[in-house]
Amino acid sequence: MNLSEYFELLISDYTLRTISIGTAILGAICGMLGSFAVLRKQSLLGDAISHAALPGIAIAFLIIESKNSTIFLIGALISGLIGTFWIRGIINKTHLKSDTALGLILSIFFGFGMLLLTYIQKLPNANQAGLESYLFGQAATLIESDVWLMAVVTGISLIILLLFWKELKILLFDPDFTKTLGFNTRFLDILITSFIVVAIVLGLQTVGVVLMSAMLLAPAAAARQWTNSLSTMIFIAALFGASSGVIGTGISASSNNLPTGPVIVIIAGVFVLVSFIFSPGRGLLFRQIRFRKNRRDLQLHKTLSFMYNIAKNHENISHPHAIRILNNFQGFTKKSLKELEDHNYIKLQGNMWSMTETGYHKAANLYNQITKTHE
């Protein structure tokens, strides 16, 4: 199946449509809430939460002894939340830094989860559990009710976001100041963290414990490159997330046996890469171009003013001088000399250069002009 066949199937095939809508919604909510995680410098929190969810899924299976993705979600939610509060507890109550706390909880919970998974696999009804699909996700298991659940959660978090927009924004920027204004920062903090936990838990079935944090961070990190406004950033992040979901599902459906979760994450990674290089304001490419151009302009101007200092000591400003007296001047190149001639600032004749009237005036006002335009 190629991509165009995929899009035909998207319209006709019920299962594929369900999965695509599911991954799109998941991408959108992850992008939206991931923006908060990125701006609060809690990027690793998502990773810790998703890993912490694994033992919850396993314990949920051990209790009900059958496969039920809703019950698994609740198990994941509970252990994800326990992990989160332990992380916060460690940070608040000990001298350990947040990266240490995150790393500790992440590995301990994940290790415990793997232990339980191994134990479950030895049980007689292990085959029907399909718990190992939670490690890397299996979008094919998405059914309509899962998608509805995602849609409802996305709707609620969108409403919360719009309602508390002002409070969440100021909390992100300056929590101490927010507190002095009389807002309950603890409530806001728990609110936003809970929604991040819920988004992660929702994504486990599709993307899996191991890769979930990329789903949260990649769209947000990419979106930050394109805008300097918080609302636009969140919107673009949601868009990138949804696109990663749809494109990833498409690629994985059109080529045999490519796992959906990793493909979605790789597509999100492509968004990040492209944004880091090509975004106009912050992208590496345009920054490098601007940097080069600035440097060249300055070199040109400095060469001109160096010439000016030589020329002004002569009665006739257009008195010719040897080019080699410029040789030791930093920033002087044959190319810049040619460029100065193109601007009609100087005249070149053999091994000699002479200043023109235009060049002389330009150089005389140069410093003022440069400081003015860069103010």
């Binding site: 309602l163 300056d174 100041f177 204004l181 009389g182 918080l230």
Partner: protein, 249 residues
């Protein structure tokens, strides 16, 4: 308005004690700050200057003590207080503009959920103009210089329209022009009977800028009018033996 004996007490701090571990950061601070003074809090590094402000504003939980703003507990009179945190306490790469940051000063009076409207925008623009930053209103905050960022923070406090201003090192890392501009605004606030409390590092400028001073080093060393208590004796008690400073009065 210069201080005289009839002035009300704007901020009253009793027995304030703060500790992170076993060692106290602030010990038994009693302080009565009269209305309408421009007060410097001075002391060496680690003396607890920022901690004092944060404890007063309930950002940090004190071990013991009480804070009253015009005779009522801080939580009741919060709206009378504005705060300028240290510039370095926030991430200036946050995706927002100078005007947006100043508007945040209006959030407190708006309360929960309600969004700022035309009135708040107008007040914020006026505050930006007061600090000489109106032409930068739509500038992304990461593109502002250190001095400009400090002015934006000051504008955000001005728009809070408070009676008491707490400022944590507003002169840190700003050039002479910005320092002059800021001190002029502080003096204007004092003229309007506002009380301004500033954590300050440059002892040389204390007599020139401030009329009231508190010496702090974990404990309160002295507090009062600059002309009475800003002397070598108190400086030595605060900063250690043989500490001398040229006071150009």
């Amino acid at each position: 308005m210069p201080y005289n004996k009839e002035n009300k007490i704007a901020v009253k701090i009793d027995d304030l004690t703060v500790a992170y571990d076993y060692k106290p950061v602030l010990w038994d601070i009693d302080l009565a700050i009269p209305e309408g003074v421009l007060m410097a809090i001075v002391g060496p590094n680690g003396a607890g200057k920022s901690t004092l402000i944060k404890a007063v504003l309930d950002i940090l939980k004190p071990i013991a003590g009480s804070v009253q703003i015009y005779g009522k507990p801080y939580k009741k009179n919060r709206s009378l207080v504005a705060y300028v945190p240290q510039k370095g306490s926030v991430d200036w790469d946050f995706p927002t503009t100078a005007l947006d940051v100043v508007m945040m000063g209006t959030y407190g009076s708006l309360g929960w959920i309600k969004r700022p409207g035309q009135k708040e925008k107008k007040a914020s623009l006026e505050a930006l103009e007061k600090v000489g930053m109106l032409s930068f209103k739509n500038r992304q905050i990461s593109q502002l210089s250190g001095g400009q960022q400090q002015r934006v923070f000051l504008a955000r406090a001005l728009v809070q329209n408070a009676s008491i201003y707490f400022m944590d090192e507003p002169f840190q890392g700003v050039d002479a022009t910005t320092e002059k501009a800021i001190i002029n605004i502080l003096k204007e606030l004092r003229k309007a009977s506002k009380t301004v409390i500033v954590v300050h590092h440059d002892l040389q400028t204390v007599p020139e800028y401030f009329d009231w001073v508190t010496f702090l080093n974990v404990k309160k060393i002295a507090t009062g009018p600059v002309k009475d208590i800003f002397n070598d004796d108190n400086l030595t008690k605060t900063y250690g033996i043989n500490y001398k400073v040229a006071i150009n009065q």
